[in-house]
């Protein structure tokens, strides 16, 4: 099985979520992260001094999928996560050796 980590724009989260549910992927885990890259952050001005932390709040979505569905899910995120402006984010795919449902102990495909 594969683990998909999608680092996307906060503003795109709802759309991506819907599109995933659209293809029946209504299970995932996400966390608020900060990104650092080409896109610059919003400058903060406080008491006369300007500062750009360069950090941009993003959402990291983690989805475990069976190998067959990998491309489908990735493409869905690519489509709906895109604004075509710098800072749309990345998708990272890694291999999962084991995936277990705590409730039942079922593993891999059955755990989905």
């Amino acid at each position: 099985m594969k683990k998909i980590e999608a680092i996307i724009r906060e503003s795109k989260f709802e759309d991506v979520k819907e599109s995933l549910e659209g293809i029946g992927v209504n299970f995932f885990t996400f966390v608020e992260v900060y990104g650092h890259g080409r896109q610059k952050g919003d400058a903060v001005t406080y008491r006369g001094a300007v500062y750009d932390s360069g950090d941009i709040p993003r959402i990291l979505i983690e989805i475990i999928v069976r190998d067959e569905r990998l491309d489908e899910v990735v493409d869905t995120i690519l489509e709906t996560g895109r604004t075509n402006t710098i800072g749309d984010g990345k998708i990272i795919v890694t291999n999962v050796e084991k995936f277990i449902r705590i409730r039942t102990g079922e593993s891999d495909e059955d755990a989905l």
Binding site: V44, T45, R47, G48, A49
Partner: protein, 424 residues
């Protein structure tokens, strides 16, 4: 007292007339006294104002510390003022002098509870003045925040409220030499606010800036933890200022107190507008912290003359105070004098401005003479307070130490000095 009108009226006109006069005078005394007490309660709430403002302007990791300091300051301040402060500031001796001491503790006589003492009782006098006293130290706490050792600060605050503030206060309000000279400072632009500002300046110089504020890349803003807290603080300070200035009339005189309410509010409003435009002109932004400081600048500015200027003058004084704020804040930063809450700009700089404004806008015929009187007052009180504070801070620095170590500053005073977090 209320028996008077319950008992049957004496039959003869003269007796009734006299009884009536006494009742009338007593009623007048009662309302005057009541106003001073209510004003004292309003000045008290300024301490919550300062606490909230400072808590909002420091980082999350230092919020408990600033609240703790403020809770202790008002408490220690009231107690020390009862023990020695009040009798140092109002010794009742050495008129026109530099120093006097009326003895320890509070020992009023029965007459001190009547109109024979003043338009208010001795206790009203004490509690109103005591609420003022702690203010100075509270101003300092904000400026030295996020890096000063708790106990070191508490020691300084105690000495400052107990000794320094009352002595300079006596010079004017205690019928000392500045009063005799003609120096005018209605409710304390200099006597309360600049005094706090001078002490803050001394502390800032000896402490040095917070880690990471001034980098080779330039000034790195250290944003406050909570703007709502800061806003609550400023609104409460404005609210309390009705008592601070209004109560300084020292009775409920309808004309004067209502004039003071009006000048005070319009100066505060003008301060906000002045800071709004000046800050926008300087940075092209709408910085809430500057507008909030602008309101305070206007309030501090009008404090010296709230009872003796026209509405128009009050507005001008406020606008200028508001304009001063962004300029002053930037200037202090340029000088690498790190003041997390802008206390020096608000209380010191605007306090000086307000004291000078008395000579410019106040209805004093002396004119230039008044101006020099004001200048002498500002400089003499400033010199004494700065010297006293610098010395005390310095002694503390070489003895118990003034600044927390680098790790404590990194992790924050809340967890290191209090083993607590402000938010869970």
């Amino acid at each position: 007292m209320n028996l008077l009108y319950i008992q049957d009226m004496p039959a003869d006109a003269m007796a009734i007339a006299q009884a009536a006069k006494e009742s009338a005078d007593l009623a007048q005394f009662t309302v005057n006294n009541l106003w001073i007490l209510i004003a004292a309660a309003l000045v008290f709430i300024m301490h919550l104002g300062f606490s909230a403002l400072e808590a909002g302007f420091v980082r999350r990791k230092n919020v408990v510390n600033i609240l703790f300091k403020n809770a202790m300051i008002i408490s220690i301040g009231l107690l020390t003022y009862a023990l020695i402060g009040f009798n140092l500031m109002y010794p009742g001796i050495n008129e026109g002098g530099f120093f006097g001491f009326g003895g320890f503790g509070l020992n009023p006589s029965p007459e001190d509870m009547t109109a024979a003492y003043a338009d208010y009782t001795y206790w009203s006098d004490f509690i109103f003045q005591a609420m003022f006293a702690a203010t100075g130290a509270t101003i300092v706490s904000g400026a030295v925040a996020e890096r000063i050792k708790l106990n070191s600060f508490l020691v300084f605050a105690t000495l400052f409220v107990a000794i320094s503030y009352p002595i300079t206060g006596m010079w004017k309000w205690g019928a000392g030499w500045l009063d005799a000279m003609g120096f005018y400072d209605f409710a304390g632009s200099t006597i309360v606010h600049s005094v706090g500002g001078w002490a803050a300046l001394a502390g800032i110089i000896l402490l040095g800036p917070r880690k990471g504020k001034y980098t080779e890349k330039g000034i790195r803003p250290i944003t406050g933890s909570s703007m709502p807290l800061a806003a609550i603080g400023v609104f409460l300070l404005w609210f309390g200022w009705f008592g601070f200035n209004g109560g300084s009339v020292l009775n409920a005189d309808p004309e004067l107190v209502s004039l003071v309410f009006t000048t005070t509010s319009l100066a505060a409003a003008a301060g906000a507008v002045g800071a709004f435009f000046c800050n926008y002109f300087m940075t092209k932004t709408h910085d809430l912290s500057m507008v909030l400081n602008g309101i305070l600048g206007g309030l501090v500015g009008i404090t010296a003359s709230a009872d003796s200027v026209s509405i128009t003058s009050a507005i001008i004084i406020g606008v200028i105070a508001g304009i001063i704020i962004p300029i002053s804040v930037t200037a202090f930063d340029k000088a690498k004098l790190d003041d997390p809450v802008g206390a020096t700009s608000v209380h010191l700089v605007c306090g000086i401005w307000g004291t000078l404004a008395v000579a410019i806008f106040g209805n004093f015929d002396e004119g230039i003479g008044q101006f020099s009187d004001q200048l002498i007052g500002i400089l003499s009180i400033g010199a004494f307070t700065f010297a006293f504070s610098f010395l005390v801070f310095w002694v503390i620095k070489v003895t118990m130490g003034l600044r927390v170590n680098s790790e404590e500053e990194e992790k924050g005073l809340d967890i290191m000095e209090h083993q607590m977090r402000a938010y869970s």
